[in-house]
Symmetry: C2
Subunit: 350 residues, 2 copies
DNA sequence: TGTTAGCACTCTTCCTGTGCGAGTGCTAAC
DNA sequence: GTTAGCACTCGCACAGGAAGAGTGCTAACA
C-alpha cells in the first residue's frame, strides 16, 4: 500500500483536529469539518489504511483515531520543508525585549518566561556552551580587610566571581599588581591549564604566595565543580493545562524531571548543535517524556557559542506555531547577544 | 465549655494521627492506637465537645474528624512553647554543606534543594534583604578593547556586575586609577546617593568623562530596575505527593503561584523580620494557599541583614520536624554567612 | 457524675448492571 | 471508486445496592 496525496491530506486533517481538541478523531468529523468532499465511509477506509501504515493508532475499537509519532514526524517534516510558517502572533516576540537587560542570566530567565507565555507550553532556555573558555583577564578586588573578590573574564564573556581570603595587610595596589602579572601570564590559557601553571607562578612570585595559594584553591575547586550552564525554565504549570497530564502521577514525574536542571539541560541540549530540532515522543530518548515533544532552536553569541532555546509540550503540540515562535526568538536572542556589544545601536556595522 | 487537659491530649492525638495519615480520624482509632485508657464512646463525647469549641471539623456525618486551623495553631503554639524539638533527622542537615560553596546564590539554591529533600515539602529560600546597600569598592576591569566590566561591592557582599562600553584607547592602568578615585569618593554611599554625586565627579575628572558617562548610565539604569532578591525554590513537585493536591486544578494553581517568584517572595517574606513564623491555612492571607501552611525561619549575614528560609506544605504538615529542620538550617546558613568570612574555620573567634 | 456498651442511623465508597452514543467494519448498491 | 446502511463494539455516565466506617443517643454501670 502506498501513501497518496489524498491519504496525506486526510492524515493532515486528523492531526490538525487532534492537536486542536485532544480527543480521538472520527471519520465523520473529518468528512464534515474539513472540506474533503468525501463521505465518512470513504474516510473510514482511508483511515483503516493509514492505521495499517502505522500513522494512526486506535485507543480502542469504537474510539476515533489518534496520530502516531510517525504521523507527527511526517507532519513536522512537511512543515519544515515548506519553509517556516510565519505565524500570526510571532511578531509579538519582538516587543518583549524592549527594555535593555544587561545580565545574560536575566535575559535567559526572561526569554523562558516569554517563550512559555507565548506558546502556553513549558519553555527551557540554556545559556551558551562552547569550547572551553580561555582566560582573558584576572582581577582581584579588595572587599574588606582580609578578603578579596576574584573576577575572571574569559573570551566567552563568562564571568566567574568568588571571594577568597587574603592576608589583612595586602592592600589594593598590591592586589592590582598581582592581577596584572596573573593576567599577563595566564591570558589565553584554559582554566585547567591555568591550574597546572599556578604552582610554578606561586614559586616565582614569592612574597605574595598567600594570596596565590588562596587563588589556587579557588581554581582547583572550580575545576571539580564546573559552573554548569544556566538553565531557565518557564511555564512548568502550563503542562497541567493539557488533559495528557491530568493524571497526577504523570504530572509529578514530569515536574520532578523539570526540577533536576542538569538532567533537563542534557535532554534539551540533545545530540548536537543543530540549528533546529524536533523530537517527537520516543525520539526524545527519555522514558518520562514518551508522550512529550521537544522542539529546540539555537542562538549564538558574539564568541560563536551556541545557546539553546526549547519548548516542551505534549506530542499533539501546535508545531507550526511553536516552530515559528522559536525561530523568531532565536534570531532575537542572537541579535541581542551579537549586535548589542559590537556597535552602538544607532551606528551601522562596518 | 472549657478545654481541660484530657481534651488537649485527645486533640493532640487526633492531630498527630491526621498528620500521619491524611484521612479523617475516628473515635475508635484514637481509643485504640493511642493509649488513652478511654473507650471510643468517651472519645466521641470529647470529640463532639472539641468540634463545638471549633477545633475539629467533620467533612460529613459518618466520617471522622479533621483538625481545624485553630487546632493546628494550638498544636504549633504548644510545640514552640515547649522549646524546639530536637528531631531525629535534623542533625543530617549539617552534612549537606560539606563542600565549600562560594557564591551566595549557589548556597541559596543548594539550601532550597536540601530543605525540600529533607522535609519532602516545597522549600523557598530568599536572599538577604536589609537596609539599602552601601558601596564599598568599585572596580572597572577591562574585558576587551572598548568594553569593561563594572564590579560593585557593597557592604552586604552583594556584587552587581555589568559590562559597559568604553573608549578603545583607555587601558587597564587608567581604569585602575579611575576605580581608585571612584572608590575613594563614593565609599559608604548608597546607590542612589552615588547617582546624585556622579555628575559632579564627571565634571571634576575630565578626560575620562566617556568612561564615567557609561558608568552613570549603568547606575541610573540599575536604579530603576532594582535587582530583586534571589528566590530559590526546591521540591515543587513534592506537593503532588500529598492527596490534598491530587486535584489537578489545585495543583496548577499552586504551581503557577510558585512560578511567579516575586509574588512568592512577598508571601514567604511575610509581615516582618521575625525569627520564626508559622502561618496556618487562612493565616497566610493568600486564597490559593488556604490549605497550605508556611513555616519560615530567618538567617543573618555579616552585615546583619535577614534572609528567609521557608517550607510550604499542606496544613497537616509535620510541624515539629519542619520547625526543627528549619531551625538547624537557619543556624547553619547564619554560620556560613557570618563565620566563614571573618576567620579561618580552624581558628576561634577573637 | 463520669464512663461504657449497644444500637440505630447516616453517609461514603465500591461494585455492578444498563442504556446511550460514538465510531467502526463490512456489505451491497450506485 | 464511492457511498448508504446496518450490525457490532466499546467506553462512559448514571442508578441502585451492599458494605463499611463512624457517629449520636440512650441506658446501664461504677
Amino acid at each position: 500500500m502506498q501513501m497518496d496525496e489524498r491519504k496525506r491530506r486526510i492524515l493532515r486533517a486528523i492531526i490538525d483536529d487532534y492537536i486542536l481538541t485532544g480527543v480521538p478523531v472520527g471519520s465523520r468529523t473529518i468528512s464534515k469539518k474539513y472540506e474533503t468532499g468525501l463521505s465518512s465511509a470513504t474516510i473510514r477506509n482511508e483511515m483503516s489504511d493509514l492505521e495499517e501504515l502505522g500513522f494512526l493508532d486506535q485507543p480502542h475499537v469504537s474510539a476515533g483515531r489518534i496520530p502516531s509519532a510517525k504521523a507527527y514526524r511526517l507532519y513536522v517534516d512537511s512543515l519544515l520543508q515548506s519553509g517556516v510558517i510565519p505565524d500570526d502572533s510571532a511578531e509579538s516576540v519582538l516587543g518583549h525585549f524592549s527594555g535593555r537587560i544587561h545580565q545574560m542570566e536575566d535575559v535567559i530567565d526572561h526569554a523562558a518566561r516569554v517563550l512559555s507565555s507565548l506558546t502556553q507550553y513549558t519553555a527551557v532556555v540554556l545559556s551558551p556552551k562552547g569550547m572551553e573558555p580561555r582566560l582573558q583577564t584576572i582581577q582581584l578586588v579588595q572587599i574588606s580587610m582580609g578578603s578579596a573578590l576574584v573576577v575572571i573574564v574569559t573570551d566567552q564573556g563568562v564571568i566567574r566571581d568568588s571571594v577568597i581570603r587574603i592576608s589583612p595587610d595586602v592592600d589594593g595596589d598590591t592586589l592590582y599588581a598581582i592581577s596584572r602579572t596573573l593576567t599577563n601570564e595566564l591570558r589565553g590559557c584554559t582554566l585547567s591549564e591555568a591550574c597546572r601553571m599556578l604552582p610554578e607562578l606561586i614559586r616565582r612570585m614569592e612574597g605574595n604566595d598567600e594570596v596565590l595559594r588562596g587563588l589556587y584553591g579557588y581554581f582547583t575547586e572550580g575545576q571539580q565543580t564546573p559552573r554548569s550552564t544556566h538553565v531557565a525554565i518557564g511555564g512548568t504549570s502550563n503542562m497541567l493545562n493539557y488533559p495528557e497530564y491530568s493524571d497526577v502521577d504523570k504530572a509529578r514525574n514530569f515536574l520532578s524531571l523539570m526540577e533536576t536542571r542538569d538532567k533537563l539541560a542534557e535532554i534539551v541540549r540533545g545530540n548536537g548543535e543543530l540549528a533546529f530540532t524536533v523530537r517527537i515522543g520516543p525520539e526524545t530518548g527519555v522514558p518520562e517524556m514518551a508522550d512529550c515533544s521537544i522542539v529546540t532552536a539555537s542562538y549564538s553569541t558574539r564568541g560563536g557559542q551556541q545557546g539553546t532555546i526549547g519548548v516542551i509540550g505534549p506530542t499533539r503540540m501546535r508545531y507550526s506555531r511553536v516552530i515559528s515562535i522559536l525561530n523568531m526568538m532565536g534570531h532575537q536572542l542572537t541579535d541581542m547577544f551579537t549586535g548589542e556589544d559590537e556597535e552602538h545601536p544607532d551606528g551601522n556595522k562596518g
